[in-house]
């Protein structure tokens, strides 16, 4: 099956492909994880301490996110956050997914999938708002 191709770069028929974009976004994410990894290693925080601190940030960021949506769209933020986001904060699954994806354990590997949970929550809220 031929991969869908996008923007044509030159006359020699080079194209930007979906794979290029997935690779670029994945590399970027990996770099951000590694940067945080170093931060926490240097800071001397344990994996557990970092995990719980990250959850605190996710609550704060998630709250900011939904409040922001509420300000423009008018939805009850706490209920929306509870319904859409917290079910995604499954740390066991997160660690397993991160391990599968990166092929190694990382103290901060749990962060992105939890944060993706917030992204998914927003996407669902957005979709819900659009279809209402």
């Amino acid at each position: 099956m031929n991969e869908p191709k996008g923007f044509e770069i030159n006359k020699e028929e080079q194209f930007i492909t979906t794979k290029d974009l997935i690779k670029a976004s994945g590399q970027l994410l990996k770099e951000k994880i590694e940067k945080l990894d170093v931060y926490f290693t240097v800071g001397g925080m344990s994996t557990l301490a970092m995990g719980v601190a990250t959850t605190g940030f996710m609550l704060y960021a998630g709250n900011e996110m939904v409040q922001n949506i509420q300000a423009t769209e008018g939805i009850p933020y706490a209920q929306a956050l509870w319904n859409y986001i917290t079910p995604n904060l499954d740390l066991t699954q997160t660690m397993a997914e991160a391990h599968t994806y990166w092929g190694q354990w990382s103290p901060v590997a749990l962060a992105p999938v939890g944060l993706v949970g917030i992204g998914l929550g927003v996407a669902e809220i957005k979709q819900g708002l659009t279809t209402e």
Binding site: P4, D20, I22, P112, G119
Partner: protein, 126 residues
């Protein structure tokens, strides 16, 4: 009030559209969105320092109801209020950093004109 998140999604969609890609949009957007949050997380922890990081630390077992959730969020918000961490400005800065980084990563396959067009799209929206 400008909606930070729908704005981020809108700009990301425009970037992907501009490259003519129609598939796996959600996966790409999720990765980019996660990167924004990792940048924000790092920025936030740098601003808080170790003691305040301990204060915001939360375990899942502490939160079982919406009320507990709201109470915890209030506590964490108060910790952030004691610092100069500006969520909105940090979110926009993180979005720019991530989307510019994304363009740089695919840059080797872009013409100078296209790269400039994408960077301009990012700078105009944050």
């Amino acid at each position: 009030m400008k909606n930070l998140y729908t704005n981020f999604l809108k700009v990301t969609n425009s970037l992907i559209d501009s490259l003519g890609i129609n598939s796996e949009r959600e996966l790409i957007t999720k990765s980019l969105f996660s990167s924004v949050y990792l940048v924000l997380l790092e920025e936030s922890f740098k601003t808080l320092g170790k003691e305040k990081i301990k204060q915001i630390s939360t375990s899942e077992s502490e939160i079982n109801t919406v009320e507990q959730f709201e109470e915890k969020v209030k506590e964490i918000e108060n910790v952030y209020k004691e610092t100069n961490f500006d969520y909105t400005s940090s979110f926009n800065k993180a979005s720019m950093e991530v989307l510019n980084g994304f363009v740089d990563k695919i840059g080797v396959k872009l013409t100078d004109q296209k790269r400039a067009e994408l960077k301009s799209l990012i700078s105009q929206n944050f």
